[in-house]
Amino acid sequence: MSFQLTYKPFGPNAILIAWPQVITVEILKDIKGFQSNIEQEHIDGISEFRVAYNSLLITFSNQHIHFEVLVLRLKAIYEQDASSKPHPVTKWEIPVCYNSTFGIDLEALAHTKQLSVAELIQRHTAPVYTVYFIGFLPGFLYLGGLDEVLHTPRKATPRLQIEAGAVAIGGNQTGIYPSESPGGWHIIGKSPISFFNASHNLPCFAQPGDQIQFKPISEKEFNSIQKLVQAGRYNLNKTEVVC
């Protein structure tokens, strides 16, 4: 663990640990590794860890914890562990139907990029994306790894309503809307998968550090997977990856 970190109070009940201001998989691994080392210490009073691209927020009850004391303890934990242990993550295969009924901006985007629709889909399905964290909406995965050719400024005027499952590109990011929401991203397809389920023990199947790959499916496959999802009988394809 070798980054220069800053430790700042964020109100009386939280500490924000910040890594350098860049988005890389190395930083994500470092954050995850640090979090798991802190968790192993079972520090009394810590209530939650929240990972983002280059930060870890730790919330705590200030009846048990004093900020300065906690910082010293965290610094010691960070310095202690110099090796980044390889740990397995899950790679999820996410079925997406890229047709123009669902991908309402697909053709316009391909035209802007001077690609054929097939080339655009190929460039979107080829990368293995990394899940950095979950935020914005319940179950919204912040993914890294979008092909630079597909980077596209957000729409000037956001749409008032985007359907749950919409697969979209905005800026240098791609993502799936987990629930109906307004949004300014370009919609290129739709996934029949449910990305958030409040009644499940783990409401999101993916967690920070996991990997995602999109798999193109036909509208017919979309419909049959959707039925299975609704019946609670669809199992995502997944593989364990050590990285």
Partner: protein, 282 residues
């Protein structure tokens, strides 16, 4: 059972919200003004986390089909039972068939209707707080029925009427801590932030309060990172947004301040056009 006969402006069931779910992108939610909600629950001998109805500006009309004891705290929306005005901050017996309605808003923004043992609505992810996509609905609906437990309806010596001495409704100063990006502001900007009054714009909700006067600054956007209820964001155009209980869990605007728990309660009782200022505490 209680039935919603007529809707108010925005009424929802809330408790102290969802803890430990923000890592999944789920907002904290819960009562906006914890002080007033806690008072209403305390006066009934309830648990602090018992679910209450948060009523905003214009109250609903509610009919009780089983006798119980209620208590209303927070904003004064002129509550009445069967046309007779009732006290705030006091346990009140309601009988089968009684109708609770609200009148003119006298002060504040939100009041809390607590009921003996709390409302027994669905618990999702450890909380009864209503939030779109988490609970079945986001607000109370016309005709909706809410359940509550049977209880003794005799007022006893423990059921006191209180006159809270708090400054909750008159206070305009919000006690704040430095946010993670505070140190990026220069002295002129800090002076502007801490010495000026800010007016509450018409854009305010359970998600956040936008303030009217812009603050000139040269802070860059940050890489998306965690935010919390009470985080004050500074947008590129200089608008300050104070995030409230239903706020998203992450954001990309610089986080210049963080409200104290007390300040979130104070702001929750403010309406469009009222002004607030920030006071840094250590």
């Amino acid at each position: 059972m209680l039935k919603v006969l007529r809707l108010g402006l925005y009424s929802s069931i809330q408790d102290l919200g969802r803890k430990g779910c923000q890592q999944y992108g789920v907002p904290v939610s819960g009562v906006m003004d914890r002080q007033s909600a806690a008072l209403a629950n305390a006066l009934l001998g309830n648990d602090e986390n018992d679910a209450v109805i948060e009523v905003t500006m214009m109250g609903p009309k509610l009919q009780f089909f089983k006798s119980t004891i209620i208590c209303i705290s927070g904003a004064d929306l002129s509550p009445e039972i069967d046309g007779k005005s009732i006290n705030l901050n006091a346990a009140v017996v309601v009988n089968e068939g009684d109708v609770l309605s609200f009148g003119r808003l006298q002060y504040g923004m939100r009041c809390y209707l607590a009921i003996q043992h709390g409302f027994q609505s669905e618990i999702v992810m450890g909380s009864r707080s209503m939030y779109q996509g988490i609970t079945a609905s986001q607000v109370l609906a016309q005709g909706q029925e809410l359940h509550y437990k049977d209880s003794e309806v005799n007022l006893t010596a423990k059921h006191v009427v209180v006159n809270p001495v708090s400054n909750l409704f008159k206070e305009k100063q919000l006690k704040v801590y430095k946010g993670p990006e505070f140190d990026g502001l220069n002295n002129v900007q800090i002076k502007g932030l801490l010495d000026c009054d800010f007016t509450i714009s018409k854009d305010h909700s359970r998600m956040g309060y936008r303030l009217q006067e812009p603050l000139c600054h040269n802070l860059n956007a940050i890489i998306t990172s965690a935010v919390m209820p009470g985080t004050v964001q500074l947008t590129p155009s200089g608008q300050l947004i104070v995030l409230m209980r239903d706020a998203q869990t992450t954001g990309g605007y610089p986080r210049v301040l963080q409200l104290s728990a007390e300040a979130i309660n104070v702001l929750s009782q403010k309406n469009t056009g009222q002004s607030v200022s920030f006071k840094l505490v250590q």
